[in-house]
């Protein structure tokens, strides 16, 4: 059920820390779950040639990205015995110290939840058409590239 529903992944701006607490709270009624794994991506104040990153402005090929997110979910649910999985990714400007990615996987046991969470993060980073403009304190910018 949970895995069949098309999910809205993108949120405008930073992901509020309260969202994480709410997500945990909303799973307390699902008593077949024994473990959650959470990954939070946070904007780092990288230094490049003496300038410091103050924010990342995210954009995406949204229609394709939604399809890819869906495919990643389908594969994850076939590979791992997870109860549910939730992904949220920011679009637009996210300042350093704020959250841009929230992956939340749940399972009966810890190993599966952790492995599935890692799987989602790696797949998202390599396969989803999301682009990031690193904005420096002087408002100049460079384009981010995942390694």
């Amino acid at each position: 059920m949970d895995k069949k529903k098309p999910k809205k992944v993108f949120v405008q701006g930073a992901i509020a820390p309260e969202k994480i607490a709410q997500s945990i709270a909303s799973h307390q009624s699902k008593t077949n779950i024994g473990a959650h794994s959470i990954f939070l991506g946070q904007i780092r104040a990288d230094e490049v040639e003496g300038k410091t990153v103050s924010a990342i402005d995210y954009s995406a090929y949204e229609e394709m990205a939604e399809n890819v997110f869906h495919e990643i979910r389908e594969v994850a649910f076939s590979k791992f015995d997870i109860t549910c999985a939730h992904i949220y990714h920011s679009l637009g400007r996210v300042n350093t110290g704020e959250l841009c990615l929230f992956v939340f996987t749940s399972s009966a046991h810890r190993k599966i939840a952790i492995e599935a969470c890692n799987y989602f993060v790696e797949e998202i980073k390599s396969k989803v058409p999301i682009f990031g403009k690193e904005i420096f304190e002087d408002e100049t910018h460079q384009w981010k590239m995942n390694k």
Partner: protein, 78 residues
């Protein structure tokens, strides 16, 4: 035949546009279109540019009327 081209991230910035509709020759291959646009706008690091045709990450394909061709710079999610 007409194809819609979408540009993203650094490529959109270099081309100074996010979308255009081009009238191209019948039988044009996606890779040929890629070369054309890279030359036209001077898009840097062409090897890092991936194409998506109708939202699928493929480029070894002959284009058809109405196709949506996206020029994608390196991904940076997360």
């Amino acid at each position: 035949m007409k194809v819609t081209i979408k540009y993203f991230g650094m490529i959109a910035e270099t081309a100074n546009k996010t979308e255009e509709v081009l009238d191209v020759a019948q039988g044009l291959w996606a890779m040929e279109l890629k070369d054309m646009q890279i030359k036209k706008y001077g898009i840097p690091d062409p090897e890092a540019v991936q194409l998506a045709i109708n939202r699928d990450l493929i480029s070894e394909v002959e284009l058809k009327e109405g196709d949506e061709v996206a020029f994608l710079p390196p991904f940076a999610g997360g």
